[in-house]
């Protein structure tokens, strides 16, 4: 049995790798929250569409579909996913006007179609998708930091900071926040609600591709890999309050760390059970998520 100092010695590397994985959960969660905030729809197709994108990159770069360079393959996959986001929103927008719940259920159908297309084109086998990441590792203060870790952190930080800057400081960001908080006010000011919804759907799709691409090197690529990863992202979004972008970020990192700690110290077999317990406990203590806003309206 390990002594207490040994257990603590393992703690910091576990937290570090939890933060790295958590950043990816956060990217997925941010995509879910972007759509929910603007459209009031929980997008259950997020994982399957991102999974399709990962397979498209594999197909475009491996010779299965085309033999393109990795960068071009990624670009084409992003274009494809943006097209899917357009199409998804075109299907869902008229339904949203009638019922948010029906629109949410429709996303399940879109997800199943995306998964079906993936299976049809690429089959059910596990395939390799090696990304051209810098392969090095260094040990600092007992932490083993790899090229993959730094790539994930850099991409996640740049993406998240960029997104937050757009949301907080651009005119489009003002429109996004206005529509999220008060769609009637946005409408009477002459905003095109559908354009802002579409912005959220496209950003979400791109975030999904980035998250999917970066998670694949830690595991393998199958028709369900990314959808499973998005379940953790979904948990992160719930923990963060589902309507809070900072909440999604913090929720993602928390889920990453907690799952790592549980897997190492308790059992890797029950991590999903543990995840559900964490969510239920957190929601009991913070019913509106850990980032629920105080404040309100004066009259």
């Amino acid at each position: 049995m390990n002594s207490v100092p040994d257990l603590l010695l393992d703690l910091f590397p576990l937290i570090w790798s939890g933060v790295v994985t958590g950043c990816l959960y956060a990217l997925g969660a941010l995509g879910l929250v972007m759509i929910f905030k603007s459209s009031r729809v929980v997008n259950f197709s997020h994982g399957n569409v991102a999974g399709l994108a990962a397979f498209l990159i594999y197909g475009f770069s491996s010779g299965v579909l085309l033999s393109l360079s990795w960068g071009v393959a990624v670009l084409l996959a992003v274009v494809a996913v943006v097209a899917v986001a357009f199409l998804s929103y075109a299907i869902i927008a008229p339904i949203m006007a009638e019922s948010d719940l029906t629109a949410t259920i429709t996303t399940l159908g879109i997800g199943l179609i995306a998964q079906g297309v993936t299976l049809l084109v690429f089959g059910a086998d596990i395939v390799p998708l090696d990304l051209p990441l810098p392969r090095f590792s260094a040990t600092t203060l007992g932490l083993r930091i790899t090229g993959y870790d730094l790539t994930v952190l850099t991409v996640a930080v740049v993406t998240i900071v960029g997104l937050f800057l757009i949301i907080d400081y651009s005119k489009l960001g003002v429109a996004f926040r206005a529509i999220s908080a008060n769609p009637v006010a946005a409408e009477i000011c002459g905003l095109n609600l559908r354009s802002v919804h579409l912005f959220a759907w496209i950003v979400s799709a791109v975030l999904g591709v980035v998250g999917a691409l970066l998670i694949v090197p830690t595991t393998f690529l199958s028709a369900t890999t990314v959808a499973t990863f998005m379940l953790q992202a979904f948990a992160a979004a719930v923990l963060g309050g589902f309507a809070s972008l900072p909440g999604a970020l913090v929720g993602g990192i928390l889920i990453g760390i907690l799952m790592n700690l549980f897997t190492f110290y308790v059992s890797p077999e029950f991590t999903n059970t543990f995840l559900l317990i964490v969510i239920l406990t957190a929601l009991n203590i913070f019913p509106n998520g850990i980032f629920a806003k105080a404040g309100g309206n004066r009259v």
Partner: protein, 250 residues
């Protein structure tokens, strides 16, 4: 003078049978202030929402020579029709400045900055809170922000729905003073829905009295200059039960 707005035989239904407005017709000239007066449920706000495009209606709404009944809200805003709703619909989660940006969303950056300066000059109460959260504003300040936000797009027709609602008498006076200042500039036409007859009188050129979704009387402001004429209009068109409502803020 050519009318900026002509509402002809407007009817508004909620559901299959509930009729809120019945065959209402009125005109608004550029630079004039037209008031729609009536008690709660008279159909005033429904008319405003129909002109703004928030609800569908039967009849014809002609703005600047164009029938706009089928135009989406954003297109009406682009053409200069701006609605300031009775509940103000301020976005509390945004700052005062961001609310104003929202109001001027369709105009260029330079024009938006220029208009924001003008609005903040007109409403100094919100100028020193411009970077604070809009939810922190008092009711009167929120009303000023709502009107200011409406002015940001450079409207030609401002639809003001009960700007005095829920405000203390002193604040109502301030809001109406600012409206008087706005009406003095250019050809901006205002349609004002109010229950406050005395304040409305000071601002309006034409008054239309509504009851149960219909226009039951019309007066020019100069016809209601003395107290007896005002009281007569209230008794004739709004009924004794509404008297208290329309004069309570006076």
């Amino acid at each position: 003078m050519t009318n900026l707005l002509s509402v002809k035989n407007l009817s508004v239904f909620y559901g299959a049978s509930a009729q809120a407005v019945e065959n209402v017709s009125f005109d608004v000239e550029p630079g004039k202030v037209t008031a729609l007066l009536g008690a709660n449920g008279a159909g005033k706000s429904s008319i405003m929402k129909a002109v703004a495009g928030l609800i569908s209606a039967k009849g014809d709404i002609v703005y600047d020579g164009l029938s706009i009944g089928e135009l989406p809200i954003r297109e009406r805003v682009r053409r200069g029709i701006v609605y300031v709703p009775e509940r103000r619909e301020i976005v509390g989660e945004l700052s005062v400045r961001e609310n104003l940006v929202l109001g001027g969303y369709q105009v260029s950056t330079g024009e938006r900055r220029r208009r924001m300066d003008t609005v903040l000059e007109l409403f100094p109460e919100i100028a020193n809170k411009v970077d604070g959260g809009a939810w922190r504003l008092s009711g009167g300040e929120q009303q000023m922000l709502a009107i200011g936000r409406g002015l940001m797009s450079g409207p030609r027709l401002l639809l003001l729905d009960e700007p005095s609602l829920g405000l203390a008498p002193l604040l109502i006076r301030r809001v109406f003073e600012r409206l008087a200042a706005i009406r003095g500039e250019g050809d901006l036409a205002i349609v004002l829905v109010e229950q406050n007859l005395r304040m409305t009188m000071r601002l309006c050129d034409d008054l239309h009295f509504l009851r149960s979704g219909r226009i039951v009387g019309r007066r020019r402001a100069e016809e209601l200059k003395d107290e007896a004429a005002r009281q007569q209009a209230i008794d004739a068109y709004l009924g004794a039960s509404e008297t208290e409502v329309v004069t309570e803020h006076a």
